[in-house]
């Protein structure tokens, strides 16, 4: 039923107009994409890069830590994984030098994020993933780890140890909080 038999009236065949339309379409399309792409990418990225600020959490009395060797200390902390709020079990390695002096290491290997273990018979920390070996004071002895074990901020009040849980960028020589 279209009026196909009627002669078609051609649009004005003006070359400058045509090139304007081409550029115009491109610009419109480009901006429409950009105006959505920036917020969409930001939605995926910004909150991922947000740094979580830790709080000092009670990790138990200093007296329960042995003085000779590093010891695993567990404590619970309420934490959020995105929208899931849960009590998370933290595990840290504590090395006691005195009643008022405790070094606390993050349990995460600074190489690529595995959990290392203390091997008392060798007096060394060893990571099972890629075989990094650390001395008692956290210094790298062998293996691929780029830096010493990460220490966590601590304070001691009334004989109780408080630890601030933090995570650090892995695989780089500098200790950077993430």
């Amino acid at each position: 039923m279209e009026n196909s038999e009627e002669p078609k009236i051609p649009e004005q065949h003006d070359p400058s107009r045509r090139s304007f339309l081409k550029i115009g379409t491109g610009v419109i399309g480009g901006f429409a994409t950009l105006i959505l792409a920036v917020p969409f990418l930001d939605a995926l990225l910004s909150q991922s890069l947000r740094i979580k600020i830790g709080k000092f959490v009670n990790a138990g009395p200093v007296s329960s830590i042995s003085g000779n060797n590093p010891q695993k200390v567990f404590f619970d902390e309420r934490d959020r994984d995105a929208y899931i709020e849960e009590v998370e079990r933290r595990d840290v390695w504590a090395l006691k030098h005195g009643e008022n002096n405790v070094t606390v290491f993050s349990p995460i290997c600074p190489h690529l994020g595995c959990r290392y273990n203390w091997h008392p018979e060798r007096d060394e920390f060893i990571c099972p993933c890629h075989g990094s070996v650390f001395a008692k004071d956290g210094k790298v002895l062998h293996g691929p780890a780029p830096r010493s074990l990460d220490t966590l901020p601590t304070k001691i009040e009334n004989g109780e140890l408080y630890v601030k849980w933090e995570r650090f960028k892995l695989g780089v020589p500098k200790k950077i909080v993430v």
Binding site: L45, D81, P128
Partner: protein
Amino acid sequence: MLSNIQEWINDRWPVKEVWKAATEEEIPGGSSYAYVFGSATLFLFLLQIVTGVWQIFYYVPTTDHAYQSLSYLRISVPFGWLIHGLHYWGATVMVILVAVHLSRVYIWGGYKKPRELTWLLGVFLLLFTMAMSFTGAALPWDETGYWASEVGTSIAGTTPMLGNIAESLLRGGAKMGQLTLSRFFILHVAIIPAILLAFIALHLVAFRKKGSVGPWEESKRKRSGSFWPDQVFKDAFFFTIILLALIALAAFLAPPFSGPADPIDTTFQPKPEWNFLFLYQAIKAFQGPWEPVGTIGIPTVLFAFLFLLPFFDKNPERSPRKRPIAMLIGLVIAGGITTLTISGYYSHPGAKQNGATVAAASSKPGKTASVETVVAKQPELPPLSPAQKAGAEKGAKVFATMGCTACHTVNGVGGHVGPDLSGEGLKAHSIAWLMAQIRNPKSHDPKTVMPPFTMLSNVQVGELVDYLTSLRSKPVPAAAPSTSVAAKTPQARPANVRVVQLPSDVGEPGLAASMIGNVEHGKKLFDANCASCHGVEGKGGVPNPGSYLGTVPALNPVRPELFSKDPAVFADNLDRFIENGAAPPGPSPQKAMAPMSMVGYGKTQSLTQQEISNIIAYVMSLNGVNRAKILHPGIAPKTFFFLALGIFIVLWLILGTLRLVSSQGKTDTSADSEKK
């Protein structure tokens, strides 16, 4: 009628043209089994889509449901084992097929002008296949996948400049969690497959435009064959073999259950998927500041080589014999990757160190012995304060009920695995020393079999220390008669009292009961936490003098009231004890020898639910029950394989006979025509 419908559709949608474009192609030198790998990859990709979609009918991409929903699919859904098994092994075979296809094209010189773009698109496909393999491994949220992703995303994070953004973008935050799983899921099921489909289409269009490359010898190129149906038949035949192999793998080599992901676990030794093992191995050669050379550099160089290949190798010569440099480079790369993969497969950095550990430990003299002789010389001891006396009384109860008496004798009562503690107070160990000994015995003697009593509260440990410092009598000679009497008189109980507790007596099971653990991992955990009381391999025999039973119950074999052939029920029964602990019935607790009781490992968080699930799987395996037993297979895996094999053999025989008959007919007619 049918042709009318065809006409009608064709008038409105170019079916004929599309079919022609897809199938009509002359292959120089004719069809060949050398060319089947590309189409086999395509068929397998389609199969991966189907098995993948079928899995999503059950799989839930959340950190608390992923592992269990997949386990449910695998053991409780009819043919779930097949769907998951095909997908799991399909992913492995996919990588192999892509590699073989790429090698074939490389040897034939198929990347050369005018097929450079086909090659480039193919290299992208390899890249996306690897991305599928990486993202897919995380989805079960099991130990293997969790740790591979932890390490893999950390590697991405070490990339100069963009590393931080790449890592955070993949993880959705600083640490692995729900957002990581969500991102891996959407990448694996939507984004990368969409890209793959688009690139496959581009790859095929480019391939069709320039046609097959064919043999390099001019003489062989004179013959010609067609893609449809000659080559497609060979492709289909080859794919039936692949399919049968996949069914066989799913039936005879079910993917392992590596146990639910446990972020605070230190006993698991993570390794990447096999197709990333060469990188895993390469990392070890580049240490310190050179590490990015291994993690980022090697893959970048490999892919740069593949991408740039058609542009620096412009020599039109395709015969491998006349391309010695190209063949040598190919051989070195393929050989290097294969060697690294195999050595990566057999390397266990942790295990090696443990071996060294044992040797080092046995050569060192015992530390504790020397410490004790030194402190034993101190003569004067301060008297106990009233507060210490009160603590000591409570400590005595803790000592009697928390398992200490199983190994330690006090005043002639108790076991003899550990030292007699009757005179512990005379040794003048410091409070801190005793606390450390209770909390972490290995800090004093690495070889000690004493388990760490991390489940005790600080108050309880304090009371125990008060009790131990109050013990100042001379040790009674070993093999005290009261112990053996108590151990040998379980029948001293009243007739109406139960000897042991039933699962229902101790409490509700935890989450661990519903998770399918890993047997080997469970064995490690059992040896560290349970063997000191339940015996090596759960064989029992460790005395518990205060209980009616006289010993700690063996777990191998387990008591009949706990046993069940139904894995879910058995796991439930075991977990009730591990979660809540148990106090075995014994004579009145007022007596000196209350039975030692088991701590609730789940309730006190001494072990994570994930760890408990592994221990359950191990204990069940000791009793001949497979925690991961398929409950509803549909058709039993092995039967199904032989069924499929039978069907395909019959099919091949029929086709072979038909072929033989038809070619017989052809030779007859040609003979006839010759006669004429």
